[in-house]
Symmetry: C2
């Protein structure tokens, strides 16, 4: 049951205020809307914008990401926004309500832009997506991204692929207009969703080591290059168990895990964060989209010889009906080891990618993946699951 965007704004503002109050009730000094100007690691103190100093024994960097903002004229017009945190979301909802918005133009067809379409559609607001590549969701195989494009069409989302935004201007029929090389697109609000960058500004100024990804370098304890400074969340790196490299994957579940590991180590109950395999998902109207491991390009960059296939099938037994699902597998030609997977389907894509994420975690090869024991019954899979078919077919290509 879609509710009108804006109904809950007052509640959300109260919610935001309540969290610091709870911590304060527990004797913890929580300061919000307080800017940190710098860190003095030698002296062990944080300097606030007004010059005051807060001493620390241990410091945790949890600066998250900042939205990547392109260099376009007109970005200062009211109603041109990015979405990074809850305050941004509240401001967006407030404007949509105030303007009785009918259409939003989203610049960027990555998964945040795609997820936004669905939320807006639930509030009866139409969407135009301006995307630089011909198909949405860049990291995805074209055949699977094509499914997403079809789902957008089905739900009335206007997807303008291969388009470059040139400027934002005042519109004629709506307050704002995004000027692109493919034409002009008007709306009540323009959302910039072209990606995020780890916010490592303060970390750099503090002298912390920054990884090749641009995020803060940490060890398996979430400790940075300075012993009493930890980092956790979107601002820092994680160890990728498939590529064996340190990467920045700004996702909420990883941030939670890193926070728990940092907290344990700070609290004197040491533990290591064993890393990630790159599992992720989003829903696009009636489609489940999920991926894990390395794309072919990432696999090649990590020194593997990737070989891939795409298999189409049904997420349920044909006797019960068809729920179309596509599965891409990537493996290492030399060893047969599974390196990555992407799935898009009407059902069962997330569950299958989770199973394959555990296979990546355990470094299984195609010979094992093709014969895994999975929980078959007709409402949930054919007797040979698409995972089996895909892995056996790819195994024959090695």
């Amino acid at each position: 049951m879609p509710y009108y965007i804006g109904d809950v704004i007052q509640d959300e503002k109260k919610l935001i205020a309540r969290t610091p109050e709870k911590f304060r009730a527990g004797g913890i000094d929580v300061r919000i809307q307080e800017r940190v100007a710098g860190v003095d690691p030698a002296g062990g103190a944080v300097e606030l914008a007004d010059g005051r100093k807060l001493p620390y024994d241990i410091l945790v960097m949890a600066t998250g990401t900042s939205a990547f903002v392109p260099d376009l004229p007109g970005l200062d017009l009211p109603g041109v926004v990015s979405l990074r945190n809850l305050e941004d979301a509240i401001a967006i909802k407030a404007r949509l309500r105030e303007k009785q918005a009918r259409r939003v133009v989203i610049v960027g067809g990555g998964f945040i832009g795609l997820e936004m379409c669905e939320s807006l559609a639930a509030a009866n607001i139409a969407t135009t997506i301006i995307h630089k590549d011909p198909l949405p969701a860049n990291r995805w195989d074209a055949a699977l991204a094509q499914e997403m494009a079809g789902e957008l069409r089905t739900h009335g989302v206007e997807f303008i692929g291969g388009a470059s935004a040139r400027a934002v201007e005042e519109g004629k029929s709506a307050p704002l207009c995004v000027v692109t090389d493919q034409g002009n697109f008007e709306g009540d609000l323009v959302l910039l969703a072209i990606g995020v960058r780890p916010d490592s500004t303060l970390a750099r100024a503090t002298g912390l080591k920054i990884g090749a990804s641009g995020a803060i370098a940490v060890d398996f304890s979430q400790r940075t290059s300075i012993e009493n400074i930890f980092a956790a969340g979107d601002c820092c790196e994680s160890f990728h168990r498939v590529s064996r490299r340190w990467v920045n994957v700004p996702l909420g579940d990883i941030a939670n895990k890193q926070g728990r590991v940092a907290g344990r180590n700070i609290g004197g109950k040491p533990m290591l964060f064993e890393g990630i395999v790159g599992a992720q998902s989003f829903r696009l109207f009636g489609l489940e989209c999920a991926a894990t491991g390395l794309s072919e390009r990432e696999a090649a960059a990590a020194g593997f010889s990737p070989v891939s296939n795409i298999t189409w099938g049904s997420a349920m037994a044909p006797a019960l009906g068809m729920r179309k699902i596509g599965l891409k597998l990537t493996a290492d030609r030399a060893t047969g080891r599974l390196l990555g997977a992407q799935a898009v389907g009407a059902a069962g894509a997330v569950g299958r990618i989770n199973a394959l994420s555990v296979a990546l975690w355990s470094e299984l090869d195609l010979a094992a993946v093709g014969w895994l024991d999975l929980a078959y019954s007709p409402p949930f899979s054919p007797s040979w699951d698409i995972i089996h078919n895909a892995a056996q077919a790819l195994g024959r290509m090695l």
Copy 2:
């Protein structure tokens, strides 16, 4: 969209006839409704009921299961049936249509009985289940089976637990009546669904080694104790990777795998069937029910020291709504290794059990399972999935 049971009977009869025709068109001698009276392994021939002999170089036993039939008076009454194969299903549908059936009494509340309720409900036929234990689905933890019992109630299925059937008689208001120690239950058809046994009669008579499970013993090539006789499917055993024992798990996906392995070995492309972990699932109206690995009892019998917990949560982020899911994990107290899992939920139970099946396949311990990288996004899980919460909580109990 439920269709009236019986509509497709004629099509199904044609379908059954078509399969042998296809094989015959390929030059394969297919004989149906032909009874094998015995096998002469020394002479390399199969003896048919009429005395004819069919010579073979290699024989495959694929005798499946037979339905376990209790010793009750009245089982010879018309309309008392079991469900083992497609012919049985067609006969059941024909009778339901002919009698314009309003209610079916099912003896046995295992997963076949439960699945039948849903098919019957889709055809607007009410169901009574007579089950010997207080809760359905015996192998399942009581707390999860309670969820199933609730789902049955919600959908108007009459579940009579802790009841023993004494006889089947002619009914007063309906053609048949099941007499139990908890009262009499009338219906248009009585379905016996109290389990199946591997059909190893012919194998025993042939002198093949029979395993402790009562099914035909095979090696990893699907070869029986006689070199040129293979076996595949419900009639034979599989190697259970968790208990390290040979077991009989009569499920369609396992049968398919065994058939392919047997075929490869017979065809001269050797391969081994690496075994099972006990993954299985069924749908009960709006509930996904899935399990994998060992129950506590099976774990203890296999020499482990099982420790278990049950965790309740949501299959989606609380901000988006609640989709209740319960997850039972069983691990080995000595090593922390995961041994089994059961899940029941409105969504996501099968996907999670598949992920845990891969964890079992790879012999992961709770320390790994509690920190697996899974494809988080709010429509599909909270940022800490119930798998993480359950495994971390059980890890603290070791």
